[in-house]
Amino acid sequence: MTRNIVLPLILILTSFTFAGCATKEVGVEWINICNPCGNADLGCRDDVAVNFYNILRANGYKGLFNFGNANAWESDFKEPNDQNYVDAADIVMHADHGGHCRFAFGNTSHDDCRLWASEAQWGNQDLEWIILDDCSVLPRDFGWTCWEGAFQGLHLIASFDTGAHDSCSRGEYLANKLVDGWTVVQAWFYACEQTEGPSTYAAVAGAVKDGDNPYNDHIWGFGSVSSDPFPPDYWWWTNHNCN
């Protein structure tokens, strides 16, 4: 008798739990006022991130957070707080400045001005894809390997190998192609093609587990998605010349 009640109850509860996980979520953080952290202010970081956010929301994604300028916090990207922010979403975009193995913020007190690769542990809750619209976060010649520890279930990081520019429209190009059913890699390289020129290479890094490769991942709801590649057997990085 007890078994007859408990087992269906467990099934119902687990269904609710996973129904919650099946919700598709997007989050963005962007910084136009960069000078508190020593970088020059920019004009289009808000457009890149918010347009990306709004297009995904218009296509079935729940908007978890849209934090700009001083509201964009480095602590949202690292343990334990990322469990409520970056790692609670399926896809996240950050738009500011960047460099080898780090990207920047405009708020000095939550916790500081740079998120370093060594601080990133993404995907152990939810995050599959992160777009870092910042310069040179994934540099060639194996400079990108500083991010290997970030892949705790994370599928892909899309960013740049080289310098890039403050384009207003990159987020829109990217989001439109993602909801058209292009893969994350295809959509990112296309967005770079339409917004960059001489000397810019886009780059994407991913992890592979048991031959299941997220290289051809679409975002949820718009095509196939690989399983979480953790612990990875290997990591890869690829670039594309946008000139």
Partner: protein, 328 residues
């Protein structure tokens, strides 16, 4: 997304997996010791010119022509030929703002990832150039009698396994044609004919953003190179998204025309100074070099802004206190 039986299995195994992940996460290496770097950076960026400013001042013109842009009419006429070449299922996009087109076999363009132990031969550049030219001939897309410059670039893949073994493999190859106006190159996201090849060298994608141009005014006065250099020194990064730059080396300064991307409305094609630079970025134990370019306004009286300034967007207001993990 799955059956209730699958959910139950996941629930039972997730606890074990999480514990396992946490243990393994600690074993992964990290390459940067951030404690050795001061997060506050110098706002003064040292600028060094690897080109002679005196020579530049002597050879730069004092005026250049200004052109009016109109949407390209050729791209739309290539649709059938592109589908004949790539197949009827190939993607085709026409943007009215520029008249630009993008086409691709999306099962092959940026769609094949090699496995770790795969062997891929480097594509032969000469063969790629011939294939690109044959393709453009078939779609009636060669630049014809327009003067162009042609470049070939190679995309790559790097792989590293958990034992630290590393491999590099060739990926796609790109052939880009840029037009020359009175000897000055048209650069930017637009102003290009581009043919994308896969690792076998086959053509798998094509882009044409090649606005129709007509001469608006000749002899438009240019800001002198000395003035531009002074402006550059005040802000060597401009719109580049680089952080923590200590020093910038300028490798080349030249005059070019700037054409915008496929969906941008552009009325004028105006000259700009293009600074090709190397940024020296602070890292934990060394300085790394990152290539970038900086576009600087060249006309004394520019007919329009070089770049869109976007719209002011709002941020969510966040709670004063962070929620604890697990609570929204």
């Amino acid at each position: 997304m799955s059956t209730s039986r699958f959910f139950l299995f996941l629930l039972l195994t997730s606890g074990l997996l999480v514990a396992n992940w946490q243990v393994q996460a600690k074993t992964l290496k990290t390459n940067i010791d951030k404690s050795s770097l001061d997060p506050s950076i110098s706002k003064q960026i040292e600028v060094a010119f690897l080109v002679s400013l005196d020579e530049l001042a002597q050879k730069m013109p004092t005026d250049m022509a200004l052109y009016i842009c109109a949407p390209d009419e050729v791209g739309a006429t290539q649709r059938e030929a592109l589908q004949a070449f790539m197949g009827k299922r190939a993607y085709f996009e026409l943007q009215e703002a520029s008249g630009g087109v993008f086409a691709g076999d999306m099962d092959r363009l940026w769609a094949k990832a090699p496995q770790f132990d795969d062997t891929i031969e480097s594509p032969d550049e000469k063969r790629i150039r011939i294939k690109a030219e044959n393709f453009l001939t078939q779609i009636n897309g060669l630049p014809g009698d327009q003067k162009t410059i042609r470049r070939v670039s190679f995309d790559t893949m790097e792989l590293m396994d958990k034992d630290g073994k590393r491999r590099s493999l060739p990926m796609g190859v790109n052939v880009t044609y840029r037009r020359l106006l009175e000897g000055y190159e048209v650069v930017g996201p637009g102003g290009k004919l581009k043919v994308f090849h896969d690792t076998k060298g086959d053509v798998v994608g094509y882009q044409r953003v090649w606005r129709k141009l007509s001469l608006e005014k000749e002899n438009q006065s240019l800001i002198s190179i000395n003035q531009v250099v002074e402006r550059f020194k005040e802000n060597p990064l401009g719109r580049a998204l680089l952080s923590d730059v200590e020093k910038v080396e300028v490798k080349e300064v030249r005059l070019v025309y700037l054409e915008h991307g496929i969906s941008a409305f552009q009325k004028y094609l105006q000259p700009v100074y293009l600074f090709s630079c190397i940024a020296h970025v602070k890292a934990a134990d060394r300085v790394v070099q990152v290539p970038y370019v900086r576009y600087m306004e060249a006309l004394v009286v520019p007919p329009e802004n070089l770049w869109s300034s976007g719209r002011k967007q709002a941020s969510d207001i966040r709670p004063k206190k962070l929620p604890k993990p697990g609570e929204d």
